[in-house]
Amino acid sequence: MKEYFSNIYTALLTIFIGMKVTLKHLFVPSVTIQYPDEKPELPERERNRLYVNMDDCIGCDQCARACPVNCIQIDTTKALPTEDLGKTSNGKKKALWVTGFTIDFSKCCYCQLCVFPCPTDCIYMTDIYEFSEYQRNNLIYDFVTLTPEDRQQKRDNLAKFNAEKEAEKLKAASEIKIKTETEPKKDQPKE
């Protein structure tokens, strides 16, 4: 008999305790983040999509070499002696036209190993993580600021310059040859 009434008492008591808890939670601010409208605050050193600041890139290829999955492809062209490419923001002299800098984010494993070797701090992680695509090709990002015509022009310039240099060399060599042929062998022991 005593148990019967204590059962009733505990049943009612526990129901009211439970109701108190749920009522309290009715007024607790919700933990939901309405995702596309508001985004969760990411941790300070989060690793997401890479970005390359091409103004600072010297085309040293160190990031590509550090990459464990070979997702960075860099293509450089030497600048002509007449061209001045300026300096990077931390004072390094730029000597190369970067005519190709692609990162394939379908391969990228977001390890951040490419960020540390960069001498000019021009490759870094951003906080962008929503860049899904329907085509895998669209995940290959090209960071070069030059237009395709410009890139071709730089290559052509270098080729032309090299060709001219080669031609000059040849010319010089032939001149020397002619000279050596025309002039009598005076100081042969120089060799």
Binding site: G18, M19, T22, L23, H25, L26, V28, S30, Q34
Partner: protein, 361 residues
């Protein structure tokens, strides 16, 4: 009131009777039950979400207030699937019967002193009798679905409703003994004035019986609230629909509008039992603090105020039902039966006898 207006309009009592009958029977559906069901479904989701520190529907309209309208539109468009081995006549008839049962109860519920669908003297008796149709409909749905989960669910539901109707009726009986009427309208009229005239506080008048009745009335209220909760198959008495064990019980095989009818009936039922509790113990449509209409001398404000108070009381108890849903776990079948037969019924009987003695004094 409506009838007199139509008699004047048509000059014929038969046509006026039919017209006012149709209008009076459709009014609660379109004025109250449908908007209420839309609101209650949204409220259920919002209350459950906020009790779990979530937000609930947020996309459609401000804080998702259009969500149920969108859901209903979706349900209307849905294909009406009837599985091949079902008992088709019963299968199609069951949702109609369930809805008719719960809707018929609204006929005798006094929304205000000026609007009662049908002013029957046996109001509360009629409501309890007519909601019995719901049991038949649920059993029909479970049987016709030809699905073991549906049948199990409906059998549990019937066993539950039948056993919990006894404590409900015992409490109603004790109230009838005190008030000496079965009409919900008269019951509400008796509790007029201020909230200390409500039956939960012992009824009108300042006599010895009033104060002697208070504890019995509190016990009676708790019993009727628990047992009506079980009658509408709400948590913690939701073993007929237990999602985690029976899929959804008797409406597993239903889809589209038929499912929507079950849903509507369930929410209408929730309000019906809350309204009964409000009418019996909490003064029905009577304001707890007096009427603004009387204060300002504006006659037409009073029925609106009464409607407001009745809706507010009913909705409060519906909210408590939702609140309990997210508080308590589901009872086992044997526990369910034990609560009814070992606890509620004996206590209700003793309560009935005590109230009988008090009313004799």
């Amino acid at each position: 009131m409506m009838y007199d207006y139509f008699v004047e309009l048509f000059g014929n009592t038969v046509i006026a009777g039919i017209a006012s009958g149709i209008l009076m029977s459709l009014l609660p559906l379109f004025i109250f039950i449908l908007p209420y069901a839309l609101l209650a479904v949204l409220a259920e989701r919002k209350v459950s979400a906020h009790m779990q520190d979530r937000l609930g529907p947020m996309r459609i309209g401000w804080h998702g207030w259009n969500q149920t309208i969108a859901d209903i539109l979706k349900l209307i468009q849905k294909e009406d699937i009837v599985a091949s081995d079902t008992d088709k006549p019963l299968f199609n008839f069951a949702p109609i019967l369930v809805f008719a049962g719960s809707y018929a109860a609204f006929a005798a519920i006094p929304f205000s002193s000026y609007y009662i669908g049908s002013e029957v003297d046996l109001g509360i008796f009629y409501i309890i009798a007519v909601t019995g149709l719901v049991v038949a409909g649920i059993l029909m749905a479970g049987w016709a679905s030809n699905n073991k989960y549906s049948l199990l669910g409906s059998m549990r539901s019937v066993a539950q409703i039948v056993s919990y109707e006894i404590p409900t009726m015992l409490v109603v009986l004790s109230l009838v003994m005190v008030s000496e009427t079965m009409s919900l309208h008269k019951l509400s009229e008796m509790q007029t004035g201020y909230f200390w005239n409500w039956y939960i506080f012992g009824g009108p008048g300042f006599t010895l019986t009033k104060f002697l009745l208070i504890p019995s009335m509190l016990i009676g209220f708790i019993i009727i609230y628990i047992s009506t909760l079980a009658e509408v198959n709400r948590v913690p008495f939701d073993i007929p629909e237990a999602e985690s064990e029976l899929v959804a019980g008797y409406h597993t095989e239903y889809s589209g509008m038929k499912f929507a009818m079950f849903f509507l009936a369930e929410y209408a039922n929730m309000y019906a039992v809350s309204a009964i509790v409000a009418a019996l113990f909490f003064g029905g449509y009577q304001s707890p603090i007096g009427y603004l209409g009387n204060l300002l001398g504006v006659e037409w404000l009073i029925p609106l105020e009464q409607f407001f108070w009745f809706a507010a009381k009913g909705l409060f108890f519906v909210f408590v039902q939702m609140w309990l849903r997210w508080t308590l776990p589901r009872l086992r079948v044997d526990q369910l039966m034990a609560v009814s037969w070992k606890y509620l019924i004996p206590i209700a009987f003793i309560n009935l006898i005590i109230i009988g003695f008090i009313t004799l004094i």
